[in-house]
């Protein structure tokens, strides 16, 4: 576990807490910083981080609060409140 990976984990947790408190802009800052740390250190982001952040507005997604999640044929559709849609596959 490098420092960069630890920072990303801590920032993801901070972003989640900020989103819970309704501080969406603060949550965006943390997500952006985590992404920047990942690219500078070339370590990638955890899958959970990718799936629970919005690619368009960078907010941390909380299903039912600021994101709608629907299952379709073979894929999950996540729509952020900003309107951006993310899809990822699943196996039944």
């Amino acid at each position: 576990m490098t420092i960069a990976e630890e920072r990303i984990d801590r920032l993801a947790e901070l972003a989640r807490e900020a989103a819970i408190d309704g501080e969406y802009d603060r949550s965006r800052e943390y997500v952006r910083l985590a992404r920047r740390v990942a690219e500078r250190n070339r370590c990638g982001l955890p899958r959970r981080f990718k799936r629970f952040t919005c690619d368009d507005c960078d907010v941390f997604l909380r299903p039912g609060r600021n994101a709608r999640i629907r299952l379709q044929d073979g894929h999950v559709v996540v729509r952020c409140d900003c309107g951006a849609t993310k899809r990822y596959p699943y196996r039944a």
């Binding site: 576990m1 420092i3 960069a4 630890e6 920032l11 901070l14 800052e29 500078r40 250190n41």
Partner: protein, 154 residues
């Protein structure tokens, strides 16, 4: 690479509890709270009243409280190389920090470390308190981690 006094200058500072022990602007001294944002030259500290204060790093002295991660003295025992300026628990932070030869991105902080008196058994409000010359933290938040690798070949 857990968050220890040695890795503090390269680790994430957002979310840590901090107290400003000394600052060029006297109004900033004594601000305590949680860091909610960081820029290259400043911290934004949210105090317990919910206000946010922006504190400059240059020239100020910050006392961070690090959460204890491993029970036992794993964190506090590695800090003995800083034993030269180890503080007596409870003393206030008026030590002149030795900042000699500080490269701004030095990987080991010139920090004096004191373990809180009650720390050995992990009680509620304690943690490891580290006083850092915040001038050593002047760096872009996203680029701080990568500077010097952990490679033993350096």
């Amino acid at each position: 690479m857990a968050l220890t006094p040695e890795t503090l200058t390269r680790h994430e500072l957002i979310g840590l509890r901090v107290r400003v022990a000394d600052a060029p602007n006297p109004d900033l001294i004594g601000i305590a709270g949680r860091i909610v944002a960081e820029t290259m030259q400043t911290f934004v500290v949210e105090t317990s009243e919910g206000e946010t204060k922006q504190v400059q790093k240059r020239g100020s002295l910050c006392e961070f409280r690090l959460p204890i991660e491993a029970p036992g003295g794993a964190i506090t025992t590695d800090t003995d190389e800083a034993a030269g300026d180890r503080k007596v628990p409870g003393s206030s932070s008026e030590l002149g920090m030795e900042t000699a030869g500080v490269r701004p991105r030095q990987s080991v902080p010139s920090a004096s470390v004191r373990a809180d008196a009650a720390s050995p058994d992990g009680e509620c409000e304690d943690g490891v308190y580290v006083t850092v010359d915040a001038t050593t933290l002047l760096s872009r938040p996203a680029e701080r981690t990568e500077v010097t690798g952990d490679s033993k070949w350096r």
